[in-house]
Structure formats: structure tokens, C-alpha cells
Amino acid sequence: MHMADALISPAVGGTMWVVTAGLIAYCARKLKRTMNDNLVPMMGVLGAFIFAAQMINFSIPGTGSSGHLGGGLILSVLLGPHAAFLVIASVLTVQALFFADGGLLALGCNIFNLGFFPAFIAYPFIYRLIVRGEYGTVRHVARQTPDKWPLGNRRGAWVAAIVAAVVGLQLGAFSVVLETKASGISELPFGTFVLLMQPIHLAIGIVEGLATAAVVAFVARARPEAVDAAPVAMENKTHVRPVLIGLAIAALVIGGAISWFASTHPDGLEWSIAKVTGKEKFSGSSDAVHQKLAAVQKKTAFLPDYGFKSAEAKNAPVENGAAEAEKWPTVTAGTSVAGIVGGLITLVLACLVGFALKAHRTKL
């Protein structure tokens, strides 16, 4: 579910960066106030544990497939949402930097999708609601019965883990769809994309929930005092306000990004919605085409020696006549041929510069 840079526009990536940075700052401030010193190494090591645990797969009976721990939920259970969010953010940062898993621009989106939903939605509002108790964590359940979870609670914890993991991942997957559509680089229609993402992540969510519950159940059974000793930095009350603020900001920002892109890129989200609802009329299209053509003309003015100038004029009426948003090519033959030739030359030049530098270095 890691989004790649190649599918994100700077507007979406940048705004999600801002949202995520705000959340990180919020969690950091929160932790600074409540945290014990020994949470510092614990967070680091548990982050490393998530990495290691993701190497270990278990088989799902009857399907031939396998699954592993996701991370967000179990970290929330062990550390509380604020510390968990920071750990997830650090895990995703290392994945982006060292494994090229998700990109730098998409990092904000990825942290939000995989960190915010499990830690601030699924855990406080689902997991803890189902696993009832003073805290709702394993800690509490374990304290009640030092040797074993009572049957009711135990089943409750399994259900809680699965439902929470599923909801967290569904929200995350939907958020991926929204961010990708708002970026307007992928051509995948909204409906198809949703139908593609949600069922897959339903399966992944169930598996993650099973894995989380299996691990939590084992630890609570084997060494309840270990879970109890985990430095949980959490308060009794769940704060709804930061969640609402975070969601509101994200909604505003995504909404803003979508509307902005809808005007310049008519075949973004609006196009797919129009496709879904069956309405083919699209009002913003001609505006966008004009803007685009103006941009092309500006470029043409800069490069007077164009090879295929007439092609542009030929394309223009076709574009204006097209009501549907998908028919507004921005690349005319004139730009493209020069572009292909120039692009190839540039690539060769870039490589040559690189090699020259390398040769220079090795000589030194």
C-alpha cells in the first residue's frame, strides 16, 4: 500500500507532508510531556521489531497465501497512539530511504495512510471500544488474570484486533485512492480503483488482525508482566479533538487539491465521478484546453524554430470540439518530435557528463 512518488502531484504530496509534519510535531509534544525516559529505546527497538516481524510470514489455511504483521495496530496496543504514530513514521521513513519503498514526496501520504488511521482511528475508537476495560489494552486484561485471558475477553480481543485492522486498512486504502486521484497522474477511474483497492485490503486487514491478535495473545499469556512493564504513554481519556482537527485539515487540504486539479486537469477526479454517475457533460474542459494551448503557444514563442508548427493548429479545433475531458492532448506533434530528439540527446549528454566526472574522479 506504499504510494510511489511517480503517482503523486507536488500539491497532494506537499499538503500531506504538512499534515503529517503537524501530526509528528503534535505527537512529539505530547510525548515529551508524558513520556518516561525508557520509552526512547523502547520505541526504537520496537520499530526495528516491526521490520523483523515483517520478514516472518504465516500461512493462511486453505488459501495457500501468507500474511504478516502490519505494524500500526500492534504498536498502538503496546505503546499508545502517540508513540506508535512516531514509530510508524520512522519505520516508513527508513523504508522510503533505504528500500525505495514509497518515495520521499509520497512519504507524507504514506505516513498518514498507514499511521494516522490505525493509531488515531482504529485503535482508540474500535480496538479499545471492543476490548472493554479501564484502558482497553492488553495491559489491563492481563492484569485481571495473570495466567490467562478470560475466554470472553480473549475472544473480544481477537475480534477487536481483526475489526480494528480491517477498518484501519480500509480507511488507509481509500485515502490512497483519494490521494492518487487528486494527483491526477494515474488514469485509473475512481470506481475501478476503489473496487481494486478495498477488497484487497479487506483480505490484508483480516490477515493483519489475525497476526496482531496472535502475537498480542501470546505475549499476554506468556509474560503478562512484560506487557505490563511496557512503558505505555497513554492517558485514560481518548482525545477526540486532535483526531477531528487532523481529519478536518486533511479533508480541507485534499478537497482543495482536488478542486484545484479539477480546474487544470479536467480528467482528474471529476472525470471519473462523471463516468460513474453517467454524466458526460463537462463544463471546465474548454477553459482548461485554452489554458493549455496558451501554455503551448508560449513555449512555441520561446522556440521559434519549430518543426511541426502546423500540427498544433490542426489539433486545436479538434480539442475545442471535444466535450469529453479525455480528449485534450497537451502534446502536439511539433513539441513531441523536437522533444523526442532533444530528450534523447539530453539523456546522452547527462550520461556523458556523469561519465566524464567519474573518469575525472578515478584519475585523481
Partner: protein
């Protein structure tokens, strides 16, 4: 996430210890330049191809000047490719409107944007990997802290990175002993999985506790001191401003098309 990946990470660390002009550039400067690079690349309209090509100069210069083996970066990019490709491959299916006609050869908009996605992928992922390879985690974290990330998050990054290998080792040892005790390759049942990963978790937590005690014994008071680096040198400024100017120029004008039309104009 196989074992080979971990070895590759170790390789990145080795590369980061080299001493080249690129390695000596301040981490902050490299981070900011690389982010500006990615934003510039991604800000192009979706059908853009040729104007993206000048941007290859930046990662290539870093790779060659930093003496980073290109193959190492390529291999890691290959691992990351599936998501971008999986989503991008739908573009030719859903966008069949003809976009470019060269003589009688028609290219649809979908293929153009697909090619554009691949180019963007190569540029952005390649740059991110190169940035890490020529900076290293420790200098990177120091740079991030000085840019203004919360201290606690930077410390978390450093801790995570420090114990990544340790815990991964622990995990692979457990997997190894499990494999030795079972006949042939066998999937883990949920029960075994729970106890295996649960034990790994317990060990990790016990380790964290030991680390904490060791840190306290050495005077840890809840704050980790990160060594400050020197201030920005003139080379850093040249690097930053030079590349920024290049990115802006390449964003403003299609350098590749300009070159192409210059060549074609001169030829005919």
C-alpha cells in the same frame, strides 16, 4: 523482505562512508536540493516526457561524482518498481485518445502518461536512493534535525536504524532454527506464528530495557546529544543555488525540446 535486502542496506552504509565532494556537501543542502528536485519533477503535466530528461543530470552527477555503483541503485529501484507500474499500466487502457501523430504513427495519451510515470519513477526513486547512499543515515538524521524536525523523531529514526540489523538478525536466527527443526519448507500456522513473533517481541522489549539501563549508566537524561556539524561552506551554497537554478530553468523551459529543435533546425 528477504535477507538480500538487508545486505544491500549494509552496502548503502558502506557507500555513505566514502569521502567524495558529494559526500562532503552538507546534509541539509542535499536534503533540500533533493526535495526541490522531486517537487520540480512531479510538477510537470502528466503527458510530459522530453522536458523531464534534463533532470537525469542531477542523480547521475551525484552517482558518478559520489562514486556510487549505478548497479546498486538500479537493483533497489527494480525492487520498488511494482506499485508505480501496477497503477501506471492502467493509463494506456483507460486513456486511448490519440495524443501524438508522427507521420502515420499514432501514440495514445495513455502510453504517453505511462512513459511519463516511468520516467518520474526513475528520477524520484533514483534520487532518493542516491541521496541516502551519498549521505548516510547519521548525517541525514543530523541534517533533518537541523532543518527542524522534532528531536524525539530524529532520535527515534537513529534508534530504529541502529537496532534494525540487531533485531533482524535475531529474527532470522529464529527463522533459521525453526527451519532446521521442521522437515522441508513449511508455512507457519497461526499458532506457531504467534509464539514465534511473540518471542521476538519479548526479546526486543527485554533488549530495549537493557539498552535503557546501559544508557542511564552512561549518563542518559532523556535527551540524546547529536553532534553538531560545521556551518555551510561556500561549496554547499554553490551546490544548492546551482542546482536550484538548473531545476528552475529546466522547469521553465523545455531544454530537451529546445536542444532538439536547435539540432533539427540546424540540420535541415
Amino acid at each position: 523482505m528477504g535477507l538480500a535486502n538487508w545486505i544491500e542496506i549494509g552496502r548503502m552504509d558502506e557507500l555513505a562512508r566514502l569521502d567524495t565532494p558529494v559526500h562532503r556537501i552538507d546534509a541539509r543542502v542535499k536534503i533540500i536540493t533533493s526535495i526541490a528536485f522531486i517537487v520540480a519533477v512531479m510538477s510537470f503535466p502528466r503527458y510530459e516526457i522530453s522536458a523531464l530528461t534534463p533532470y537525469f543530470l542531477y542523480p547521475l552527477v551525484l552517482v558518478f561524482l559520489g562514486r556510487i555503483p549505478l548497479g546498486c541503485i538500479m537493483r533497489k529501484m527494480l525492487v520498488a518498481a511494482p506499485f508505480a507500474l501496477a497503477i501506471g499500466v492502467f493509463n494506456p487502457i483507460f486513456d486511448r485518445a490519440p495524443a501524438v501523430v508522427i507521420n502515420s504513427f499514432v501514440i495514445s495519451g495513455g502510453w504517453l502518461s505511462f512513459a511519463s510515470i516511468i520516467l518520474r519513477f526513475l528520477l524520484t526513486v533514483g534520487t532518493a536512493l542516491t541521496l541516502v547512499a551519498c549521505t548516510g543515515m547519521y548525517r541525514l538524521a543530523g541534517g533533518l534535525e537541523r532543518i527542524g524536525l522534532p528531536r524525539i523523531f530524529v532520535v527515534q529514526l537513529l534508534f530504529l536504524y541502529r537496532y534494525l540489523f540487531v533485531i533482524a538478525d535475531e529474527g532470522s536466527r529464529m527463522m533459521c532454527s525453526l527451519e532446521l527443526r521442521t522437515c522441508g519448507p513449511m508455512g507457519l500456522t497461526r499458532h506457531v506464528y504467534g509464539s514465534l513473533v511473540g518471542h521476538l517481541l519479548l526479546r526486543s522489549m527485554a533488549r530495549a530495557e537493557r539498552i535503557y539501563r546501559a544508557m542511564v549508566a552512561r549518563g542518559f537524561s532523556g535527551e540524546i546529544k547529536i553532534m553538531r556539524q560545521t556551518s555551510l561552506q561556500s561549496a554547499d551554497w554553490v551546490f544548492l543555488l546551482g542546482w536550484m537554478a538548473f531545476f528552475v530553468a529546466a522547469r521553465r523551459w523545455n531544454l530537451a525540446a529546445g536542444l532538439g529543435s536547435l539540432v533539427m533546425g540546424g540540420g535541415s
